[in-house]
């Protein structure tokens, strides 16, 4: 919960929409993990279990004409931005009707027609691209924003520094959405910046180096994320952008593939499981008189069914033919 707003101030349909989208991401990731471990799905995967609130909270502020950029961990962002589970699943299965026609794969899902270019898996590499998209929006006098997702680890890359600075000096409409899940791969964030020292208390404090508004938000509170991103979008549209938002969250699954996460202390993991965003949001939702458990159960069932159907279809979709390797290189 944010400080300013109570759960009772929101529209019921809106709230259940947030819930549904988070559940969709969670369930999607669970299914994909299973398919992957079973060997039915090729490649490698980076999943966002536990981080659903950041994707959903931010993207709920975006219209179809707004944009996002994403990372090696893009499934949640894509679903939150409105890509269908089906087009993503087909892509993950390497199907030719997938959102990238089977050429992208898990780390590069995207659909520009829905405001998401292929996710960029070079850590930090999407941040200049997002900044350039915002520059285009500004030059084209469009009232839209770009939400640029990246992790705590990405803030050490030069690309982050160069791009955020340019967004700052040119007042570009970018929401820099830093998902601080406390680790870059296996490396704790406390090990890659001098936190606690003179002037640097949080990742958000880095925003000050660029003279832009920056804040640290409980990233497992979907409404707090939503409100922060809403404010940020307003600042952007008023020409005061960019805004840096650090969302505190936790990855309750492996970094990639079959990672057993032995570098995450047990107690920390335990605590994180307690504060994962979906359970927390359920508790908050049920404070409302007009939301009952069966509403939530119904949503979960619908999502589960939708996904089962999508998987069944996706797995059977036609694969590319070898000659397709040669197409789509040049426009």
């Amino acid at each position: 919960m944010t400080e300013h707003t109570s759960i009772h101030d929101y529209d019921r349909v809106f709230l259940l929409g947030l819930y549904e989208r988070m559940v969709l991401i969670r369930e999607f990731e669970e299914r994909v993990k299973y398919l992957f471990l079973e060997g039915r799905m090729p490649g490698t995967i980076h999943q966002c279990l536990g981080q659903e609130a950041t994707a959903v909270g931010v993207c709920s502020n975006l219209t179809d004409e707004d944009y996002i950029t994403s990372t090696h961990r893009p499934h949640g962002h894509a679903l939150a931005k409105g890509l269908t589970p089906l087009e993503i699943l087909i892509e993950l299965f390497g199907g030719v009707t997938g959102c990238c026609r089977g050429k992208g794969g898990s780390m590069h899902v995207g659909n520009i027609r829905k405001g998401m270019p292929p996710a960029i898996a070079i850590v930090g590499g999407g941040i200049p691209v997002a900044t350039g998209m915002a520059l285009a929006l500004k030059m084209q006098h469009r009232s839209n924003v770009v939400a640029c997702f990246f992790g705590d680890g990405a803030t050490s890359e030069g690309a982050f520094h160069e791009a955020v600075n340019m967004a700052a000096i040119w007042d570009l409409p970018v929401i820099f959405a830093c998902e601080n899940n406390r680790y870059g791969a296996s490396t704790p964030v406390g090990q890659i910046m001098r936190l606690g020292a003179e002037g640097l208390k949080s990742v958000a404090d880095r925003g000050a180096a660029y003279g832009i508004p920056a804040d640290t938000i409980d990233g497992n509170d979907v409404l707090a994320v939503y409100e922060a991103a809403k404010d940020a979008k307003r600042v952007c549209l008023e020409g005061g952008g960019p805004v840096f938002l650090e969302f505190l969250t936790y990855r309750i699954t492996g970094h990639s593939r079959r990672d057993p996460c032995l570098y995450q202390p047990k107690e920390e993991r335990q605590a994180a499981l307690q504060s994962e965003p979906i359970g927390r949001f359920e508790g908050v939702l049920l404070q409302r008189a007009d939301v009952v458990q069966s509403d939530l159960d119904g949503i979960r069932e619908t999502v589960a069914k939708e996904l089962s159907e999508a998987i069944a279809i996706a797995e059977q979709e036609p694969k590319p033919v070898p000659e397709d390797v040669l197409t789509d290189v040049y426009a």
Binding site: R101, K103, I127, P128, G132, A136, V329
Partner: protein, 338 residues
Amino acid sequence: MVKQLSIVEALRAGIAEEMARDERVFCIGEDIGIPGGWGGAFTVTLGLERAFRDRIIDTPIAENGFFGVAVGAAILGMRPIVDVQYGDFLFCAMDQIHSNASMLRYMSGGTVAVPMVMRAPVGATGRGAQHARNVERFFVGIPGIKVVAPSNAYDAKGLLKAAVRDDNPVMIFEHKLLYGSKGARMETGAVDSSSDVPDEDYIVPLGTARVARRGSQVTILAWLLMLHHALSAAERLAASGVDVEVVDVRSLSPFDFDTIGASVRKTGRVVIVEEGPKTGGVGAELSASIAERFSPSLKAPIVRVASPDVPVPFAPVLENAYRPDPDRIVEGVRQVLD
């Protein structure tokens, strides 16, 4: 109307015309439009900020950043012309160029386009190792990118315009000694590359080579500064009765094997001239491809004349030993005739 222009003037005119024609076109780079400044390191954009203030974007010194910015802007329909002060600094931006500019279209299954132009000056010019490299080799063969390298003002303008209108990332290599920059930015050792340039709109299609001098006994392939040295060498050889054809390769990616092949089939002898270390150069690919495609026509092994496999040295005597010159090209031709 036709005017004699330097490459700098031709590029400047080409950029201005494209910006006037299409408001999606903008320039981005360091020091390109600062009032009282130089219009980039070699005056190409000098004064353009007066006509197009909102579309000449001066950046911080952050190459990877602003190349990425150009990629993002291009994805959303703009047509950036990115200026890097020296080709050497492309290494700073290499990730954005290779991982994003060149591949996003493919990764997206053909749904995203990245129409951007990159302009980079190359060549050894008395500045020492870090402002001197001929980096063409690093971009030839990156799938998704096109590469051109004009040796004269007409081509510079025509290729620039073609590049701006192309829907893909196009790298234009320019040679510092060919610019014809004037005043404080004049280069010692510059070679005249000015040419007649029509006022009317024209393009030089990407992907085309040009026969710069007709001949029958040997084909020299060269581009940028080396094209001029090749022509000098050809003159000299003509005096001693050797009839050399010189092809301005001009398009380094893709190569124009129609034009190159026609020449090779005619002469059967090939000398490839390149500024930059021999090993791993553009000449390697040219040599390998020509051997694959036109072996039956070859009367002698292909000869590469290039720089030695060393960084670019500072002292003039060393730089001259580094940079191929007409003497060494003549030698190369004699070798292929042996």
